[in-house]
């Protein structure tokens, strides 16, 4: 019997039926290409899906910005932060009350604000205003998503 269970479990795992081990959302191998792909997907998604996808995109861009900043490419990191601000506005426009993915979006946004806060404390003095402004906009989007979750 044990062997039956093992075989079924192995087959199910190999087919991706069972979820892979939980990993931190920051563990993903994020690069410009994966961001561009996700952005294209979010832009063409159904309106109900867009809020979560933009939140995911915003999170990936934040992680990428953090990495570029740590690597010394301040210009690239700043460009990403400016795009994050535009995305925060898109999240504001797409927050709906219609699906459980809103909760996931809210969690992702909360985590992103935490990461931006880390960036704020670790960044050079002259770079802080942009990080602070971005953090404020993402926080606003997160608060809005959270209120919408409670409103349901």
């Amino acid at each position: 019997m044990r062997s039956v269970v093992s075989i079924v479990a192995i087959l199910a795992l190999s087919a991706g039926i069972l979820p892979a081990g939980a990993s931190s959302p920051d563990d993903k191998n994020i690069d410009q290409q994966s961001i561009d792909l996700l952005e294209a997907r979010a832009n063409q998604a159904a309106p109900r899906e867009q809020c979560f996808l933009y939140a995911e995109l915003l999170h990936q861009m934040t992680e990428f910005s953090l990495r570029e900043y740590a690597a010394g490419d301040v210009e690239k990191a700043s460009g990403l932060l400016k795009r994050i601000q535009t995305l925060a506005h898109k999240i504001h426009l797409s927050v709906g009350d219609d699906n459980k993915r809103l909760k996931n979006a809210e969690i992702l946004l909360r985590h992103t604000t935490f990461r931006l806060n880390e960036m704020l404390h670790n960044s050079a003095f002259e770079d802080r205003p942009l990080v602070q402004e971005t953090l404020a906009q993402v926080s606003q989007a997160q608060t809005e998503a959270m209120l919408q979750v409670f409103r349901k």
Binding site: S3, I7, A40, N43, K90, L93, G96
Partner: protein, 178 residues
């Protein structure tokens, strides 16, 4: 041991067949160029409704063109696919309208042309005589156009009243929390 022998082929069959079935059923009603236009419209509700109306118009014209062609299995097959795509697009648009309506997005501008177009699409579909090869797809398409035409007209009325009462919200992409 026997149970293992029985389980393995079943599991292998399930793993192997599911993607094939999915591939067979999955149709993409939009071309790559149309998808690109949707991407560019992004989050703009009015633009998206206008684009879907345009794409549906294009599908309707193809169906109209096929209506008068000589009957053949190829025509029948093509019509079946076109009608399925047409219905899938209308259902997608219907879902979008539900969301935009909940959000109180101002989509009055594209709703008028949509309501008019839906009546034209209905005429095109009714002019197409049913055949066994695509009759089910044709009936589903007619039902979807009916639903979409009703929804577009109802929404237009509701939005006209709403934005007359809430003039400060005209042109908004969603209702702001107050």
């Amino acid at each position: 041991m026997r149970s293992i022998v029985r389980l393995v082929p079943i599991a292998v069959l399930l793993l192997g067949l599911s993607p094939l079935e999915a591939q067979k059923e999955k149709r993409e009603p939009l071309t790559e160029a149309q998808i690109e236009q949707i991407r560019e419209a992004g989050i703009d509700p009015a633009e998206r409704v206008a684009l879907y109306t345009k794409f549906l118009d294009e599908h309707a014209e193809v169906i109209k063109g096929l209506t008068n062609r000589a009957k053949s299995p190829a025509r029948s097959n093509r019509l079946d696919g076109e009608l399925q795509d047409f219905t899938a697009l209308m259902d997608e648009l219907g879902d979008h309208l539900d969301v935009y309506s909940e959000r109180k997005a101002d989509i009055r501008k594209p709703l008028g042309p949509l309501a008019e177009s839906a009546q034209r699409w209905l005429r095109i579909l009714r002019a197409l005589a049913g055949e066994p090869g695509f009759d089910l797809a044709r009936k589903e398409a007619i039902e979807s156009v009916d639903d979409l035409a009703d929804e577009a007209s109802r929404l237009l009325r509701e939005q006209t009243n709403y934005f007359n009462e809430h003039k400060d919200e005209k042109g908004q992409e969603r209702a702001e929390p107050k």
